[in-house]
């Protein structure tokens, strides 16, 4: 796999404020990469630097191995979908989609063909004569996508393209967007602060915080093997517990939790360079299960006793807050399992294979 976009030590400062700290990133040809992070962490800034809408203060940006820092945006061949869609209100949908082709010396007959194909791809083949204001938000979104892909861009850049849509539509669109991306095989950089979107769509997720990369990895990796407390807490609900660990570097690491006792975890559960005597154990809320104090926990699970402090019914699942020793833990269990009331005495248990060990 070749690299489509390379960011080499790029920095962006606004006056004295550094929005993006030295940042390195490689984006594989044809892959779907998501920049994920809380508001203000520099996602848009990073995307705009790739797009050429912002100049990096330092560092190089390479597209297909060519340095593009000094290439003006209109010569970069990138497809951008803006959060506000940015359809030209004074042009018809056809003219909007055809806009980029006008500057690419495409013969007239082919323009029609390509526009038609793009509009079919986004499932809106019959709105060419309308104006953007005559389309719904979701339809405008699709046209914005059609306009960006019709030019066969080297990279497709999307800045929170779904955030203006209502919840149901957003989920439909993300499936569709992913389908289209796969069909075209276009390298895509997607910005969002919605972890659901990031997990569902991405080949790789870049978790950012305060202008720095916290972790780069597959959705499975960032979710199940968070590299930092921040990542663990930003994605999903996690329990973080202080642990003592022994045998760092060996195949198995022995850890001790005051409430659960001693157990072993695999080194694959310890992010590289993170092993130390003292650390934090990350346990996803859905991996912690509740059962009757009398019930027998599945083999291999470590157990402790606790008291249900609060119950939060979520529909498909229930979230419990459980006091175990002096820790307050969260557990998200499916409704199919036994239900407990507030104040109930319960046994909590989890499989040690499902936790991650972070160094201090």
């Amino acid at each position: 796999m070749s690299t489509a976009v390379t960011l080499n030590n790029i920095v962006k400062r606004f006056g004295t404020f550094t929005a993006v700290h030295p940042l390195d990133l490689e984006i594989e040809q044809g892959s779907f990469l998501t920049l994920l992070g809380p508001s203000g962490c520099g996602k848009t800034t990073t995307l705009r630097m790739i797009a050429g809408l912002l100049d990096p203060t330092e560092g190089d940006i390479l597209v297909k191995g060519q340095r593009v820092n000094t290439v003006p945006i209109h010569k970069r061949n990138l497809g951008i979908v803006f959060q506000s869609y940015a359809l030209f209100p004074h042009k018809t949908i056809f003219e909007n989609v055809a806009f980029g082709l006008k500057y690419r010396n495409v013969p007239k007959a082919q323009v029609e063909e390509k526009v038609k194909a793009a509009m079919e791809l986004v499932q809106l083949p019959n709105v060419g004569d309308r104006y953007p204001s005559q389309l719904s938000g979701g339809q405008q979104q699709r046209i914005a996508l059609a306009r960006a892909i019709v030019i066969e861009p080297d990279v497709l850049l999307l800045d929170e393209p779904l955030s203006a849509l209502d919840a149901n539509l957003r989920e439909d669109m993300r499936v569709e967007l992913k389908n289209i991306q796969e069909k075209l095989g276009v390298t895509t950089v997607f910005v969002t602060h919605d972890q659901g979107e990031a997990l569902a769509m991405s080949d790789n997720i870049v978790v950012m915080r305060d202008g720095r990369i916290e972790q780069v990895g597959s959705p499975w990796d960032v979710y199940n093997r968070p590299a930092s407390e921040f990542v663990a807490q930003f994605l999903g609900a996690s329990n973080l517990m202080d642990v003592r660990a022994e045998g760092a570097g060996a195949e198995k690491v022995a850890v001790e939790l005051p409430q659960f006792g001693k157990f072993e975890v695999d080194t694959t559960q310890v992010p590289k360079g993170n092993a130390s005597a003292k650390g934090k154990l990350v346990l996803r809320a859905e991996k912690l299960q509740l059962s009757d104090t009398a019930a027998k926990a599945p083999t291999g699970h470590v157990t402790a006793n606790g008291t249900v402090e609060a119950v939060d019914y979520l529909g498909q699942s229930v979230r419990y807050f459980v006091h175990v020793g002096d820790e307050k833990l969260q557990a998200i269990n499916t409704v199919g399992q036994a239900l407990f009331d507030q104040g109930a005495q319960v046994q909590v248990h989890f499989d040690p294979q499902n936790c991650t060990l972070l160094g201090d």
């Binding site: 209109h74 497809g79 030209f88 004074h90 980029g100 500057y103 690419r104």
Partner: protein, 290 residues
């Protein structure tokens, strides 16, 4: 329910009524008088005599003198409008693209002329272009000319004065339009391959047309209706149509002819405004002023 609905429908009218009454009394009623006057006859001592006569209309519509001045009034207003657009657009663009505090300051500068009487602003040109004005003094001092030249009192200075007066209207209206353009539209055009010049022609300019048109209508109507500027900066042959109305009513005490001339100008300017309204809607002007 029905009563609430009815009172809700009535509410805007109740709220608007003071304004409507004022407009009726100060605008519609006098206008009716003017219309009636235009058919009356002037008495030899300068009074009016109730009648139904088309003589005034006939005179005004057939005499080449009035027609020529109407044409030159329209021409002066049109040239002024075009100059305001050409000079004002870049300024509006610059202000719309300025950031933060700068923009507020620039807008304040644009408002500044409104704090000084339009008459005084017009007269200031006498100090600049007059025989003993600043420009002549400068040219004399650096030896370009040997004796002062008369630069004032011609059509060019009338247009200059009008541009000076009307430019802020054009700039403010265009600014409102430009400011309302989502910058992402220009970014989008750029990203699709349009260079900055192409982006301007394809996106920025068309989207700023409403403001440009609103500014143009204001400039044209105010310019064509002007009375002061030709008096101060024009020569004896540079009278504009409003000067004729003044002449007829105040100097010759010929109210009926004055009424006819006013109505002629009103029809021409009304036609311009209606054409504008047909394509753009008058709401745009309110945006520019408010």
């Amino acid at each position: 329910m029905a009563t609430i609905e009815q009172s809700e429908k009535r509410a805007p009218w109740v709220l608007l009524s003071p304004a409507l009454v004022t407009i009726a009394l100060l605008l519609v009623v006098p206008l009716m008088f003017i219309v009636v006057y235009s058919f009356w006859l002037r008495t030899s001592v300068g009074g009016v005599e109730a009648a139904f006569s088309l003589a005034n209309w006939q005179e005004a519509l057939t005499d080449r003198f009035y027609r020529d001045i109407l044409i030159s009034t329209v021409r002066i207003a049109a040239i002024t409008t075009i100059l305001c657009a050409i000079i004002g657009y870049p300024v509006a663009y610059f202000v719309a693209r300025a950031r933060g505090v700068n923009r507020g300051f620039l807008l304040l500068l644009l408002m500044l002329p409104f704090w000084v009487s339009y008459i005084i602003r017009t007269m200031s040109w006498i100090n600049i272009l007059g025989v003993s004005g600043a420009l002549n003094s400068l040219l004399l001092a650096i030896g370009v000319i040997d004796e002062p030249i008369q630069m004032l009192y011609n059509e060019v200075t009338v247009i200059l004065g009008l541009v000076h007066f009307l430019l802020p209207f054009m700039i403010l209206n265009t600014y409102v339009s430009l400011d309302g353009i989502d910058r992402a539209l220009e970014d989008a055009a750029n990203s699709l391959g349009a260079n900055p010049m192409q982006t301007f022609w394809e996106v920025t300019l068309p989207l700023s047309v409403p403001g440009l048109a609103a500014g143009a209508v204001l400039c044209f109507v105010l310019g064509a209706g002007t009375y002061i500027t030709p008096v101060i900066l024009g020569g004896p042959t540079d009278a504009m149509f409003a000067n004729l109305v003044f002449e007829a009513i105040i100097t010759q005490l010929d109210w009926p002819l004055g009424a006819v001339l006013s109505l002629m100008l009103l029809v021409v300017l009304g036609a311009v405004v209606l054409t504008y309204n047909r394509f753009m809607g008058l709401g745009q002007i309110a945006k520019g002023i408010g």
